[in-house]
Symmetry: C2
Subunit: 298 residues, 2 copies
Amino acid sequence: MSAVQICEVSPRDGLQNESVVLSTEVKAALVERAVAAGARRVEAVSFVNPQRVPQMADAEAVMAAVPRVEGVSYSGLVMNRRGLDRALAAEVDEVNLVVVATDTFCLRNQGTTTVQACDAARDLVAAAREAGLFTTVTVGASFGCPFEGEVSADRLDEVLRRVADAGPDEVALADTIGVAVPAEVSTRLTLLDDRVVPGTRTRLHLHDTRSTGVANALAGVASGVDVLDASIGGTGGCPFAPNATGNVATEDLIYTFERSGITTGLSLTSLIESAEWLQAEIGRRLPSALLHAGPFPG
Amino acid sequence: MSAVQICEVSPRDGLQNESVVLSTEVKAALVERAVAAGARRVEAVSFVNPQRVPQMADAEAVMAAVPRVEGVSYSGLVMNRRGLDRALAAEVDEVNLVVVATDTFCLRNQGTTTVQACDAARDLVAAAREAGLFTTVTVGASFGCPFEGEVSADRLDEVLRRVADAGPDEVALADTIGVAVPAEVSTRLTLLDDRVVPGTRTRLHLHDTRSTGVANALAGVASGVDVLDASIGGTGGCPFAPNATGNVATEDLIYTFERSGITTGLSLTSLIESAEWLQAEIGRRLPSALLHAGPFPG
């Protein structure tokens, strides 16, 4: 038996790449559903430029509409000081900062080079910590870049050193475009463990673009990762990465985990019900496997 | 580095659950494409009752249309003596016999109980071997049954003892409805290894119904399985199992294997091209991930 924490990211990464913009009420309901299914950590919103990511323009309203549950950490994605100020005003519990491992993708995603993004993350970590928030840094394109191709272990190592210098509570490797395979997940998590200060938590953010999501998640658990991001329905993607597809579906992970003796505290039945609901709200067939196949035994 | 053989099953298991019936020429072209992509073993046809599986009614014509390539084994699925006679007349190199691990599913699939199917397999193995054919027995529902639910390790063990008594050259565990998880793949392959005569080859037949296909295949390779079934485009299913979906896509396996140091001799580029072609012939979106996401680096 082992255990891993799931960070539910459907309200943020899940919705930001959908063409349909959901109402504030539906977004808040999605957060509530995730919590009801057992999630103790939810990436609820992002405080980025609403002109660049219009789906997240009502972040403050979503956070105001979500009834806070004791023991649940509500997170917001933040790119800069303005975003952090909005996050603080909205009273999130944690902020998710982003650094992309390649310059080309980082420039397209947030208008800075990787080194500049690391510098910004250092300042934001310090400011957020002073305000009492948990801080996590997501390293995008940790396994490959849609523009530069392969991301070498040396390049990633260089970025992880800078991110570790920023001193966040947690660092995540993100397979933003779904190219990782399990062997790489293991070796790159070891690289991460070697770079961060002992006690720093580790997280893995997976996209199931090339059918490797579940295999990569199992490799992450076997390597001792603390947290896995996942998205109800397998929604998600990145508006700035071509052909990006959804995050690994939360219910797909929980199906395999339940049958493999890995505990998460989440309810598979509840997740599938919420995936059905979300699919109806979004109005397109979502990629989750369990949503369509159903649990086993049925 | 390790290696595993791929048995391409799109022409048989892949097509038999598609509502569109392809022409003999297109079926033969699919077999040729699999061989051109590097497959050295192809399940090309099935010699079953054409009234039950109309898609396979032209098995003889397909085999006659396929140009035989030296070193490639062309296989036909066979349920009874009549099927074996047809297979021999069509000059296949091997026959695939089927036993389903639960009585309910076995009765629906082939009109016999599991024990009766084992008895039939024994006679067919003897007759096929006498005719010089390679013999493989596929044990359907080895990980779960759509009608009876869980299939216990004890039940599977009992079936494997009978199948081993039949003395085939190879035995396969089939996850017919895509419910297996990697830990079960490992333990049930060990069960299989313990039951069969030393030297018997082992094969794994996976369906990617619950996003576990790639993870299960990797577990199979790690457990030393000799052969993996896979289907170009991720086509496939079972006409007698509700909600059955496709086999794990050949190109999805090869993507992960290539990046994991597992050699198969198959060309990813060629497989993706054939998946595109097959999708156009079938006229529906096929579930293969690599078909839609493309290779990486692109």
